[in-house]
């Protein structure tokens, strides 16, 4: 809503970064920016973007909000969905419901730990990571089981309308819905309020703990949904399939302009952040580099991106 001059706006900068990465990719390997390639990249970004939605909410809610347990919750969601579907199209809906319901409840437990017991979110969700991961090991005995229904795989991997797979539409709906939620509903205003000043939020009558619990629940929900997408994307799952999403979801949120201190930011930035991150990783794979070179460039690029627009304000103004 605030009119900021174009270049200091995180959204503009993220968009510029995305275009620059596309250009670099195209130069390095012609065909990189071809339509079907971009759709492919967007699909990967959508999966990241959906977990990042939950991560975004938790971070906006402040009080050091962060959810490290999205990794195992994604794995859990994938395993549950895979086992319920077992390759049958008819079971897709129950699979989605079961996966997201379970992870939603796990998220609520995170929320209760953070609000009622006042455990710092970082360690609460880290502990939950161990518990869910351990639970998965106990449940599956380490042997992957279950597989995706063909219709789900088609929805995620095959063009549906206008050459775009269904998951992109789901992501678009989530983006619009979440932005509407944050900008146009009392709930969204409450999320920013508790992120900005919890005591003040309590004094204007907001049920601070209930909202915060719900945010963690939603993070669980989105992680479960991501699990379903992951198994739809790859066909089957293994018990650490979600691990790679933990830090990348946080990075997508942060390079999208949401402050880890809470109370400032939004989901559109996170969408761009997810796209930029996936693009960057893909550009790096097209570079014929040793593993170490890829890592160093990846880390450096993240730093440069943050230098461009992730800086905190000066104390001396």
């Amino acid at each position: 809503m605030t009119l900021r001059s174009g270049l200091t706006n995180p959204l503009t900068l993220a968009a510029i970064a995305i275009l620059a990465l596309l250009a670099v990719g195209e130069t390095l390997s012609p065909g990189f920016a071809r339509g079907d390639q971009i759709v492919r990249l967007l699909t990967v970004a959508a999966i990241l973007g959906i977990v990042a939605a939950g991560q975004n909410l938790v971070i906006l809610g402040g009080r050091e909000g962060i959810d490290l347990s999205v990794g195992p919750m994604i794995s859990l969601g994938a395993v549950i969905a895979g086992n319920i579907m077992a390759g049958a199209n008819a079971a897709i809906l129950p699979a989605i419901l079961a996966a997201t319901a379970v992870t939603f409840l796990i998220g609520i437990v995170n929320g209760l730990g953070v609000t009622l017991v006042r455990i710092p979110p970082l360690v609460m969700t880290l502990g939950m990571t161990a518990i869910v991961q351990g639970g998965l090991v106990v449940y599956s005995q380490g042997i992957p089981s279950g597989n995706a229904a063909p219709a789900l795989m088609a929805f995620i991997n095959r063009p549906l309308v206008l050459g775009l797979p269904g998951i992109l539409f789901v992501w678009a709906i989530i983006a619009v819905g979440l932005t509407f939620l944050l900008r146009r509903t009392a709930f969204g205003y409450a999320v920013y309020a508790i992120g900005a000043n919890e005591r003040a939020a309590m004094l204007v009558g907001l049920p601070v703990n209930r909202i915060r619990c719900l945010l963690y629940g939603l993070s669980g929900f989105f992680a479960g949904l991501t699990g379903v997408c992951v198994i739809g994307y790859t066909g089957n799952s293994f018990i650490s399939v979600g691990d790679q999403y933990v830090l990348s979801s946080i990075i997508a949120v942060v390079i999208g302009g949401t402050s880890l201190a809470g109370g400032a930011g939004g989901y559109i930035g996170t969408v761009l952040g997810a796209v930029a991150l996936v693009l960057l990783q893909s550009v790096l794979t097209t570079l014929q580099l040793e593993n170490y070179g890829r890592q160093i460039i990846f880390g450096m690029t993240l730093l440069v991106l943050m230098l461009l627009y992730g800086r905190q304000g000066r104390l001396r103004v």
């Binding site: 161990a130 351990g134 005995q141 380490g142 830090l247 402050s259 993240l302 730093l303 943050m306 230098l307």
Partner: protein
């Protein structure tokens, strides 16, 4: 009671540690034998050292996710420097230690400058620098290998004046923490973590204090790397990957708030030992392997919850 605990939250960690030691001794009577104690301490020492350094960064309101990568980098730099200097005697070892610790300081300064001078958010910055450091470690030493001279690991496993070297190292870490705790630096660090604006308006030099904390954190990660080198007697570019998150758990278990402005390294030392002992107890409780992670998570959360509930007003 609760007032005493609130000003010294590590008392609870100490109680938890005592309980775990008792349980462990009951499950494994040989636990109290000096050799067993020494081998346990050898296992816990790296995390304990990293936790000490991490505490300073956390007290200042920041966080350091790159400690694991720094440990790996210091390890490979040390073994490579020893190999490069070559020959017998102490010269290569001293060169290796110096190169390793210098690397740590450089890493700490890089983190500190990015966060305190260029004003980036610590959590993502140190994640990113961690990737860079880890990549550099792979560049220095692509594969695990390069054994260190016998003198290195022998002296690490030796005893000095009747006590194992590992115990001396732990005591030195504790002594350093107590020493620094009485210097103005820690008061200033707490202030910077408690309120950035207030500390600035009071005239403190925020960047110097925050960079100092990151250097300490990196340096302790470097010490941990040297201990790991003494333990494994060779280089490994992938070492220490769990150190970052475990050290943060140890810091929190020790009663330091992640929001900054409170706590101290003594609690973190206890927190690291508690984490190690939880692993021990679970192992000796004869749980099936598949259950171990689950139970470990539950115990850690229970310990945290217990601590918070007791200190609550």
């Amino acid at each position: 009671m609760s007032a005493v605990v609130r000003s010294r939250p590590w008392l609870l960690t100490l109680i938890a540690l005592a309980v775990l030691v008792a349980v462990n001794t009951a499950l494994q009577p040989s636990f109290v034998q000096p050799a067993v104690l020494q081998s346990n301490l050898t296992t816990f020492l790296p995390l304990t050292l990293v936790a000490i350094g991490q505490t300073y960064v956390v007290m200042g309101g920041d966080i350091d996710l790159s400690v694991g990568a720094i440990a790996a980098l210091v390890n490979v730099v040390t073994v490579s420097a020893i190999a490069a200097v070559g020959g017998d005697g102490l010269t290569p070892i001293i060169a290796g230690l110096a190169a390793g610790l210098a690397t740590a300081v450089v890493c700490g300064v890089i983190n500190g400058v990015l966060v305190a001078v260029l004003r980036l958010q610590a959590i993502v910055t140190t994640f990113a620098t961690g990737i860079v450091f880890a990549g550099t470690a792979l560049f220095v030493l692509p594969q695990a290998g390069l054994p260190v001279p016998e003198a290195f690991w022998r002296s690490y496993g030796a005893t000095l004046i009747g006590l194992p070297v590992v115990l001396w190292i732990l005591l030195a870490g504790l002594a350093f923490a107590l020493f620094l705790g009485r210097r103005p630096f820690v008061a200033h660090l707490t202030a910077v973590g408690g309120s950035r604006v207030g500390a600035f308006q009071t005239g403190l030099s925020l960047s110097r204090v925050r960079i100092g904390a990151f250097v300490l954190s990196a340096l302790f990660a470097g010490f941990a790397a040297l201990c790991l080198t003494g333990e494994t007697a060779s280089g490994d570019p992938l070492l220490g990957q769990s150190l970052a998150l475990s050290s943060i758990s140890a810091v929190v278990l020790g009663g330091t708030a992640l929001s900054g402005g409170s706590g101290g390294p003594v609690g973190s030392i206890l927190g690291a030992l508690v984490l190690g002992m939880i692993g021990n107890v679970i192992f000796f409780a004869g749980l099936p392997f598949a259950w171990q992670t689950l139970v470990q998570g539950l115990i850690v959360l229970a310990a945290l919850a217990g601590g918070v509930l007791v200190t609550r007003r």
